[in-house]
Symmetry: C2
Subunit: 338 residues, 2 copies
Amino acid sequence: MSDQQTYRRIVLASRPADAVTPDNFRLETVPVPTLADGQVLVRNHFLSLDPYMRGRMSESKSYANPQPLGEVMIGGTVGEVVESRNPKFKAGDSVVAMFGWQEMGVSDGSGMQKVDTTHIPLSAYLGSVGMPGVTAWYGLNRIIEPKAGETIVVSAASGAVGSVVGQLAKKAGCRVVGVAGGKDKCDYVVNELGFDACVDYKAAADAKALYAAVKAVTPDGIDGYFENVGGDILDVVLARLNAFGRIALCGLIAGYDGQDLPLKNPRAILVSRAKIQGFIVSEHMDVWPQALKELGGMVAQRQLKFRESVAEGLASAPEAFMGLLKGKNFGKQLVKLV
Amino acid sequence: MSDQQTYRRIVLASRPADAVTPDNFRLETVPVPTLADGQVLVRNHFLSLDPYMRGRMSESKSYANPQPLGEVMIGGTVGEVVESRNPKFKAGDSVVAMFGWQEMGVSDGSGMQKVDTTHIPLSAYLGSVGMPGVTAWYGLNRIIEPKAGETIVVSAASGAVGSVVGQLAKKAGCRVVGVAGGKDKCDYVVNELGFDACVDYKAAADAKALYAAVKAVTPDGIDGYFENVGGDILDVVLARLNAFGRIALCGLIAGYDGQDLPLKNPRAILVSRAKIQGFIVSEHMDVWPQALKELGGMVAQRQLKFRESVAEGLASAPEAFMGLLKGKNFGKQLVKLV
């Protein structure tokens, strides 16, 4: 018997029939590999949990290939180089990568970025200064293109993406209205993040009540909408949309489990001469440097606030992920691995 | 009694409860006015009937103010100056204007354009070389932005707008598929207009059959869609849409009478990273000169074919309009007034 070390990883065991269940995942313990020349071994400190992962778990047509069964679940990670046989990295380097749901990762250096944690916490590179932040930046600046004085609405407003959308829109001089689930999240969005108002969709008995609640805080209508959720709220926003309104379609969590998610009134798109555009931030790599520079600067100067929900240990990832899909997280959902 | 001459006009008598009925209109005979200094009297030869008029007849929120009750129905016209007290116009000039549903019109010259009928028939200024043509041009060139080799689909393909969309897209090197109601229209679209294929939506028993029919003629998926109709076909196209597909939303005739017109699967917008954009051509006056020059040149050189349905006499306008909303017309719907 050798004294070879091991680490843990989570693979996709089966595809969800509708809602994700714990037995869709399998926790495995595997040996730490010996590095080949040019390779780097990383200990992952944080795993990012994101709604897009739900899409990858299914086989239906989507914008990305499905996650293969039996392989490590996809996911963004931040961690520290523990051993390097690659001249571009050395032990102790902080790196962001896509090692997935596992405690360690091996790479030839591709797909890894060294990051500076002097002024920015490591975990922020999975949130405001990472994919969620760039998602917010792209959808807001390249699709919604907000102008000072306009009213911008964002759903999942306390989340990793929505919180950045709203704060960037405030910086652009807009009236910003969030939509979130529950009083605590709404209070946070207004009092901590500085949105002008927040609608608690859970407090609305039906679509009509939701419309009334949105109308009350958008007296001048809505010019831009950043959609993370889908369902009734999209129809409500369309009904309040001003001429030439823009909707960035980033996610539709409400329908991730295959539910029908009809848009009741597409006529509103025509009436408002609106633009609705879906996007995936990974297809717009050209904006990442500019976006990350801006977002990193704001975080370092405490101008961009964020909140994290941290689950402890890799084994907690499935439950944390299922909670994320139900909106149980509050802010960016992470798993602390080590 | 004077021997003052009269002309006839049609005013909006009442707003439709759902479908338009003949008693929503009232035919009136009124005296031909005496011109003031600077005014022009025009005898209208053709009235254009267009789907947008249905929206104006209702009071519900739309992109334009409703048509006032008791006033002449809005509409584009072409005609001939019969008397002028305005130095910019003289008797015999051919003009295009918005005199509405009436046999004569008086103007101070504003809103009137002299047109050249040497190479272009007068009626074409209400169709391919008028508002419908520019609508096609704008939606195709500014929203869909077709590239050679792409597949472009257009609904109401034999109509005033759709026929131009398809022929412009062919000219741009695209594979062009029409959607139209009935074998005659589909034959015309393929054999006369030169589309690559046409789907007869009336021959499809349900949405599934419609999907199969569209799929059969779009083997490489769909890159651009020009929407004039709405309903099932929009969902079908979304399900066939390639990555970065573009949809120009020009009209939704299917829901003009207030029917629900839900979009069953807005998720497809996200999956395809699609853009859906509504537009009204009258808000893009900057493109009219360029579009009309191109369209006029094509018509004059017989490179742009079109077909007209001509109703005889002002009194036939209501019935022709109701037929238009049901797709009974074949090509551009006109009313010959004199």
